[in-house]
Amino acid sequence: MRAKKVALVICGVYFTLAGTPRASAYSLSSMRNSVFRIQVMRDEPSFVEPWKRVVATPGAGSGFYIGDGRILTNAHVVANASFLTVQRDGDTTPLPARIIHIAHDADLAVIEPLEVAGKAALKAVRAMHLGGIPKLRSPVSTIGFPMGGDQLSVTDGIVSRISYLGYVHHGAAKHLLVQVDSAINPGNSGGPVVQGDQVVGVAFQSFQQAENTGYIIPTPVIRRFLRDIEDGRYDGHPEDGITVSDWALLNPSTQAFYRLSASDGGVKVAHVSNWASPAGLIRPGDLLLAIDHQPIGVDGRVDFGGERVDFRVLYDLKQMGDDCRFSVLREGVRRDVIVRVGGSRPHHEPGYTYARHPRYFVYGGLVFTALSRNLLRTWGERWLRDAPMTLRYLESWSQYDPDFADLEQIIVLVKRLPDQVNAYATGQLYQVVRAVDGQKIHNIKDLAMNLENGQGPYAVIDFFGSHDPIVMSRAQALAHKPMIEKRYNVTVDRWLGGDNERADSEAH
């Protein structure tokens, strides 16, 4: 409970920077008892035969104690864990643990020892405290258990950049992050990055094309996560769904058109996704001049504790239900628009999914699943080039394409389990389902319902970009179901998802 109070107190002041840098002044011995090696056996679902799970693989990372019997780490360290343990440097026995909360979009997770004895052992551990954002060019130390040895390792580095960039574990989410010029190696992930006796971030990813370029999750993102889970449920970062034209208002003609001066700043809204909270409140063509009273520059940045960062950082760090105030110029009139953050309608989210099962449905031996980055990755490391063009296009552009923008999930035919009933459905692999019996399909539940409950003797499945539908006798599909499931060992023919994707994930 103490940690919760701390988080509550501190969460309102995430602009505060850490005090005078003194990375070398801390005592390592005082922290070594608070840092854990986390070992994991992973058991991932198959995205092409989704009723199966692929062979378990081992993994390892780091984590640190934040009080209340909880250890903070990265989501990617414990994602898809079938079994995990925590162990401090010098401890003889690893303690079995479990995930309490996991935030795949923010790459953070809270875990705890599974057994009473393990929980009791943590009572003697000193909780590490969160500080502020480290200043540029200040020294930091990364603590953890990187590859290449068993002992706790400390790597020193310098803060080189504060940015709003992609979090690799999610694949599409962007949040505030801090770049440091020290290597973050496999095994470091989830470990604390400290300045003095305060944690200023969690080590989580590196830039492989450059040497000694690591990234850490800064404390505003960590605090947002800890506050989000206070009610026992992780709701996630809000999505603004706003696409803006950066730099448009740098243009003198455009400034003149809107009767602005060079010092007015602002960005122009190009698109607002229909599923996002700002839809209907913020409009294409609006000029966003300020967010929460912070002026937005023509580069789309705002002042954030003395640094310039993307204006979306302020929106991104809010909790669901918070208000966000935009100062908008519309049709020559300045006005304030208040957006109640959160409450996005279901929509296709680019990136990886970490649901326990991919959403899927098997009908007449045809396997349909929802498009995800995981599915694209089945084409290998070069999926950006090797995966079918339409799927790559939809992963990037579906929200702007009127044919796809209203889809909750993009349903793909990923496999044919050969049988007499589907012997003629060989030309539609990897195509995206548009309609069943003329009814547009918005999600996997739609698909299952329309295929199973359709009235006609034949199910007609139409695909985007194709004039060649699959036609299948409903009676035959039903009659052949047991044989197909037996032949291909399809243990469960569907996972249509629950009401809350995040609740369906590993947190339990």
């Binding site: 243009n251 003198p252 003609s253 058109f257 009767r259 339409t390 990037s396 552009w397």
Partner: protein, 492 residues
């Protein structure tokens, strides 16, 4: 037309029998000349200027009327053509008589006809059976050709390198690389095909039947060209689909999947018709007709054999009821699609407005991304090519896009714009260069000043430029980027 097809099939059946006459020793150098093509291709990303001058070599076969037959690849983008006999070191200018890019064939004629004196014309040979052994003649050096052995592996319908017309093609297997430059394919001293492209050990060649079609058509007063059916067909192997369409069971007939507007099929065929016979030839459920020599061939092969303007008799089932239709075939035009297929030798339409280069999306533009352009070109442009590139009612419909921006103070803040589809200009849809010009002339007035407002896809960003500053900006750009009179600037 069934007569024409029947005749053709009969003649095909006779061929391939070895000649009983004693053969003269064939000296291909007496029938073939070397063509030097000096090329100046337009740079698709800088459409007012050409790529570096290059020279490519092809072969051409002498015909009985004194014309030279070669592939259209030799003639495309050629600013100057020369021939050289194998018994001479002199080069002589040749001109292009006629080109059909759809089937990759061209006819050339020397400016000074006497240069061909002493050379012997070559006759067009017969259709080959599968596995037939052939000789392919390629350059050895300036004075002679060398002979390469090959065999006919497959007869298929594929698009030549110069168009997207599905046309009959020989796939010849050979161990020799470096072919595909109009090398003659010869059997018994007759030309049976002309090599057009090579992919590893497979050499694609234009077969004699297409050569004859092209030459016969050209020798008529009006070239009618190769036709198309104007619809998409899909196999009808699924019993469930057959039942849904009330088509009789069996293995006959293909489904009409789509009918293009203003095409041969428009007004005669509708989606879900089942075509089971054309010109007396039965069509299988996979869309094949039976050929006497080559076995099954796609239905489009039948269309290949006809000329635009010919009638096509079609028998079909519509909702289970048999009916007949007679279509008048229209000429296939690769450029009837929104994405331009080819524009060889023609200027690349473009318009520069405040540094924004507006162009028509073309295959040439996308091919700039190299051999694997279909994988690595911008995804939204590839999506247009794949899903939005069907023949339009208005043949002038094009995909207008901004390829890039010539940086200048007038476009400050927008200069990173690249490869973006144009959605609207001044609030108007823009589906051709003419529509672009029309839309540009309808500027938006704000506080007494005129602006050009361009909306770009897929996100919908808007670019706003002050019209009164365009002239001065264009003047700066002409100087800075050394754009001559070939560059088209739009100024009100």
């Amino acid at each position: 037309m069934s007569f024409a097809i029947g005749l053709w099939l009969a003649s095909a059946a006779v061929f391939a029998a070895p000649s009983s006459k004693p053969r003269e020793q064939l000296r291909m150098e007496d029938h073939v000349v070397r063509i030097y093509a000096t090329k100046r291709e337009i740079d698709p990303s800088t459409p007012w200027q050409h790529e570096d001058i290059s020279q490519q070599q092809y072969l051409a076969v002498l015909l009985s009327n004194g014309e030279l037959l070669t592939t259209s690849s030799a003639a495309r983008d050629a600013s100057f053509l020369e021939l050289q006999r194998f018994d001479s070191s002199q080069r002589e200018e040749v001109t292009t008589v006629f080109v059909d890019y759809e089937v990759d064939l061209a006819l050339l004629r020397p400016v000074r006809p006497a240069v061909l004196n002493g050379l012997k014309p070559m006759a067009i040979g017969d259709d080959l059976p599968l596995d037939a052994a052939v000789q392919v003649y390629k350059f050895r050096d300036a004075n002679q050709l060398s002979q390469v052995a090959a065999s006919l592996q497959e007869v298929s319908l594929s698009s030549p390198p110069t168009s997207n017309y599905g046309v009959l093609s020989y796939d010849l297997k050979t161990q020799q690389s470096g072919l595909g430059n109009a090398e003659p394919v010869v059997v018994d001293g007759k030309l049976v095909a002309l090599a057009s492209s090579q992919d590893q050990n497979f050499l694609a060649a234009v077969p004699a039947t297409i050569l004859r079609h092209f030459l016969n058509d050209h020798h008529d007063v009006n070239y009618r060209g190769f036709p198309s059916l104007g619809c998409e067909l899909s196999p009808l192997t699924s019993p469930d689909m057959r039942s849904l369409l009330s088509a009789p069971s069996g293995q006959l007939g293909v489904r009409v999947a789509q009918v293009y507007k203003d095409s041969s099929a428009a007004g005669h065929l509708v989606v879900d018709d089942v075509i089971f016979e054309v010109n007396g030839l039965k069509i299988s459920d996979q869309g094949y007709v039976q050929h006497q020599i080559w076995g099954k061939l796609p239905l489009r092969f039948v269309i290949n054999q006809l000329y635009s303007g010919d009638k096509l008799s079609v028998k079909l089932w519509r909702k289970g009821v048999e009916r007949s239709e007679t279509l008048t075939l229209k000429r296939f035009d690769s450029n009837r699609l929104p994405v331009v297929t080819y524009r060889y030798g023609q200027p690349e339409p473009h318009l520069i407005v405040g540094g924004f280069i507006f162009q028509e999306l073309s295959l040439a533009y996308l091919r700039q991304w190299g051999k694997f352009w279909r994988d690595v070109a911008p995804l939204d442009l590839l999506h247009i090519l794949r899903d939005q590139n069907e023949p339009a009612e208005d043949p002038s419909k094009r995909v207008i896009f901004v390829s890039r921006v010539l940086a200048d103070p007038i476009n400050q803040g927008y200069s990173d714009t690249r490869h973006r589809r144009v959605l609207k200009v001044n609030g108007r849809d823009v589906n051709s260069m003419q529509q672009l010009r029309d839309a540009l002339s309808q500027s938006v007035t704000q506080a007494g000043k005129k602006y050009i407002v361009t909306k770009l896809g897929p996100e919908g960003d808007e670019v706003i430029l002050l019209e009164s500053e365009l002239a001065a900006a264009h003047s700066r750009m002409r100087k800075l980027y050394e754009i001559g009179n070939q560059g088209s600037f739009w100024t009100p």
